[in-house]
């Protein structure tokens, strides 16, 4: 199994850390992982994206022009990455702030209203974990117990009390994700 | 009294400093480097620090300093001696590390390295030979060259509007809180040599007490570069260099 994922949105949405949690979860189940961010000035308030690859075998290129899954959190990223999803692949997006919705019919498209849900949970910081939950519902490539272990590994000890809240957010994401097409 | 009596131990009034090697010095007759080398070697010997001292030589006339004093040496790139000394001091905090640098090396190409080493308060000793000229490359202008002083690159004399001002780097160094002892000495007369030896001894003691950077400028002659006889060069130094670079302690904490 190899899953090649692009996660893209605004800086500050937790794009990079969502990718890190996913990558760590992969390590917890003995997979090979790669996490390749865009870096540089565009990270400061602009768009941020990260390629995450989980695989049962050695990972080749961290630089890709097509992805199994695109997780899209703003309009610019949708415009850029919709066309880069492999035919038959998956696109998950938060419709918040989206004016031009995805057009493709040869891929599976899902909605996760994570911005709204995070507001309902009264914690904007759960946003990226809600999105991660949506992804894991659609593509259960890592076990939830390994996500928990991944969070334990990736978060510093002083933030471990936040793990239950993150797990709850992942659960909410799994519940609210819905297929669009 | 015949020769046998004369060479008796109790008649010994002078002997070559033990730490000076037998290599013939390449310095010009009358050059201050020879005096400073001898005093430095004496101090290291008298303090019993041969095994604990590491010298860093510059680029310039004293590039071959390692040929003359019998200790372990590094030969640095031009101006970089304080960076080497920083690392040696950090990696061997109980050693006595010194740099030996000329005015081109320390005050021109190596300005950043000396300022920052002193500002960090590296526990090292810096010996700064200021003769107002580039000796080794053949008498070009140094940052410390005096106004109107002719050199091969200021053949009509140094002019402020063209070449800027002579740099009193020691005065800048003295402002830095990392330095514990900053002094300006010379080696042109027996009394001056005695004072210089005291200053170098104090600097080594400071290193032993881990007090920070000790910085000793030695106002020096370059009779070849100045195109003067050794005696005349000394006189010229007293007359022209000392008023601009006055001797004495700038800082002693």
């Amino acid at each position: 199994m190899t899953e090649e994922i692009i996660i893209a949105g605004f800086g500050g949405q937790g794009v990079l850390s969502m990718g890190k949690t996913l990558a760590y979860s992969g390590i917890m189940q003995d997979q090979e992982v790669a996490w390749m961010p865009s870096y540089g000035p565009e990270m400061r308030g602009g768009t941020a994206n990260v390629t995450v690859i989980l695989s049962d075998s050695r990972i080749s290129s961290p630089i890709l022009q097509e992805f199994d899954t695109a997780i899209i959190l703003n309009q610019q990223s949708l415009d850029k990455f919709e066309k880069m999803v492999k035919p038959g692949g998956t696109l998950i997006y938060d419709p918040n702030g989206i004016t031009r919705h995805p057009q493709r019919t040869d891929i599976n498209i899902y909605w996760v209203e994570a911005t709204e849900e995070a507001a309902r949970m009264k914690n904007a910081k759960t946003f990226n974990m809600i999105v991660l939950g949506a992804f894991l519902k659609v593509k259960p490539i890592v076990k939830l117990e390994n996500v928990k272990k991944g969070l334990e590994k990736s978060l510093p000890q002083r933030h471990h009390h936040l793990i239950p809240m993150n797990q709850e957010a992942i659960g909410r994401g799994m519940e609210i994700v819905k297929k669009v097409n | 009294m015949d020769v046998k009596d004369i060479i008796k131990e109790e008649n010994l009034v002078y002997s070559k400093t033990k730490l000076l090697t037998d290599n013939i010095m390449h310095y010009c007759p009358g050059c201050t480097h020879g005096v400073v080398h001898k005093v430095l070697a004496e101090v290291i010997d008298e303090l019993g620090l041969q095994e604990k001292t590491i010298g860093v030589a510059p680029v310039g006339c004293s590039v071959l300093a390692y040929n003359y004093i019998d200790i372990d040496w590094h030969e640095a790139a031009h101006g970089r001696a304080p960076a080497l000394a920083t690392a040696i001091n950090r990696l061997y905090p109980d050693k006595y590390v010194f740099t030996y640098q000329g005015d081109g090396d320390l005050a021109s190409i190596g300005t950043a390295e000396i300022i920052h080493a002193c500002n960090r308060g590296e526990n090292i000793l810096v010996i700064f030979i200021n003769n107002g000229i580039y000796g080794m490359t053949g008498g070009q202008m140094a940052p410390t060259t005096l106004i109107d002083m002719p050199t091969s690159t200021t053949p009509y004399g140094r002019k402020t509007e063209f070449n800027g001002h002579p740099l009193k780097i020691t005065d800048i160094i003295a402002q830095l809180p990392g330095t514990c002892y900053v002094t300006r000495q010379s080696g042109h007369a027996p009394a001056a040599v005695r004072k210089l030896k005291k200053a170098i001894t104090k600097a080594f003691e400071n290193t032993g007490k881990k007090k920070g950077t000790s910085f000793i400028e030695v106002v020096s002659t370059c009779n070849s570069g100045w195109k003067l006889s050794p005696v005349k060069a000394n006189e010229w130094m007293v007359e022209h260099m000392f008023p601009f670079y006055p001797l004495g302690d700038l800082k002693d904490e």
Partner: protein
């Protein structure tokens, strides 16, 4: 026990330095490698292993600190990115000329000049063909994964001390910024001062004791005949390195009709190209040089019998391709494909270039 961690390439360099018994790191911030110094400062290895870490006032000072530390027998290193590595060339040639061991990491970004902070491989000539003045060589290691960033720190120091020669890890912004799974090794103790005296006392400036001559670290010898002899001695050393230390990896080469030659991050892209090509039943293999000096010349020559063409892939205008051509000696077509200035080719771009430049050409 081995521990698995998700790390950036730059973080792996720092962690490996601490664990392999490095005595000192001297650096200056520059994107995209500042995490090396940041990670070390956050880890505070001086409390753990006694390792010295210092932020120098410039890259020039940092490499000269390395020169000082290396001269006294310590295991010392620095890291930077392209413009900073240019500044370090003065120190590197002195270190090579004084025959000292040290490790230099270059996380390459696009140039020339200030260029860009995005990844590139345009410092190959600088790393492999000299960089500074004079006839000298660095041993150059090219990691292609975060694990190799970690592993080559220890390997680099081992080679540096074995040959008393500076070693460079030539990486780039992709490997430096990417996170991958890394197997962390156990701590190797730092050598004590007494052990350094025993092992390197014949040359290192550890303080002159009565039982030996004074040790002098210098690259200066004004006598032309002696300086020539020294140059010849260096060349003998480089020849020995060429005979003993060539490292490379071959992927799908046994039946290959077409060969990709790529190092570092480009070799990762090319692994995917091999998969894509094989799906289209094009027999493509990949030779990945791990050492760039010494270059795997003989490995390329040994494959020429069954090759129809070679594509050298690098993020430059074509630098390593010259070494491929030197190895091939005109016997097989050799072409270059690369993006530059921080642009990164995708596997599809490379496959297209292979088809157009080599297979149809």
């Amino acid at each position: 026990m081995a521990e698995l961690r998700l790390m950036k390439g730059n973080e792996a360099i720092a962690e490996a330095a601490i664990r392999c018994g490095c005595d000192g790191y001297f650096g200056y911030p520059i994107t995209p490698q500042s995490e090396v110094l940041e990670t070390l400062m956050a880890r505070k290895p001086w409390e753990e292993t006694g390792m010295v870490v210092l932020q120098a006032e410039s890259e020039i000072a940092a490499i000269n600190m390395v020169y000082g530390g290396a001269g006294c027998g310590k295991k010392v290193m620095t890291s930077s990115s392209s413009p900073g590595i240019s500044l370090k060339q003065e120190g590197i040639t002195y270190i090579a000329g004084a025959e000292l061991p040290c490790l230099i990491v270059n996380v390459v970004r696009g140039g020339p000049g200030l260029g860009t902070i995005q990844p590139a491989q345009s410092d190959y000539f600088q790393a492999v063909k000299g960089g500074g003045h004079g006839d000298y060589k660095l041993i150059v290691l090219a990691p292609a994964s975060v694990q190799e960033m970690y592993d080559y720190v220890d390997l680099g120091f081992e080679l540096a001390f074995k040959y008393r020669n500076p070693v460079m890890i030539l990486s780039d912004g992709i490997i430096g910024q990417m996170m991958e799974k890394v197997q962390i090794g156990p701590y190797k103790p730092r050598m004590t001062d007494e052990e350094i005296v025993a092992k390197y006392g014949s040359w290192a400036t550890t303080g002159k004791t009565p039982n030996r001559q004074r040790n002098i670290i210098t690259s200066l010898d004004l006598d032309p005949n002696r300086q020539e002899q020294f140059n010849l001695k260096l060349q003998c050393k480089y020849k020995e390195i060429e005979e003993k230390e060539v490292r490379f990896e071959k992927i799908a080469c046994d039946d290959a009709e077409y060969l990709l030659v790529a190092y570092g991050s480009s070799s990762r892209i090319c692994q995917k190209v091999v998969d894509l090509a094989r799906e289209k039943e094009i027999k493509v293999g990949l030779l990945r040089p791990i050492t760039l000096f010494p270059y795997p010349t003989k490995a390329i020559q040994a494959m020429l019998g069954h090759l129809k063409g070679i594509l050298a892939v690098e993020m430059s205008t074509g630098q390593m391709v010259e070494d491929v051509r030197l190895a091939v000696e005109g016997k097989v077509a050799v072409e270059h494909y690369g993006r530059m200035g921080g642009a990164i080719p995708t596997p599809q771009d490379v496959l297209k270039a292979l088809e157009e430049k080599i297979i149809k050409g």
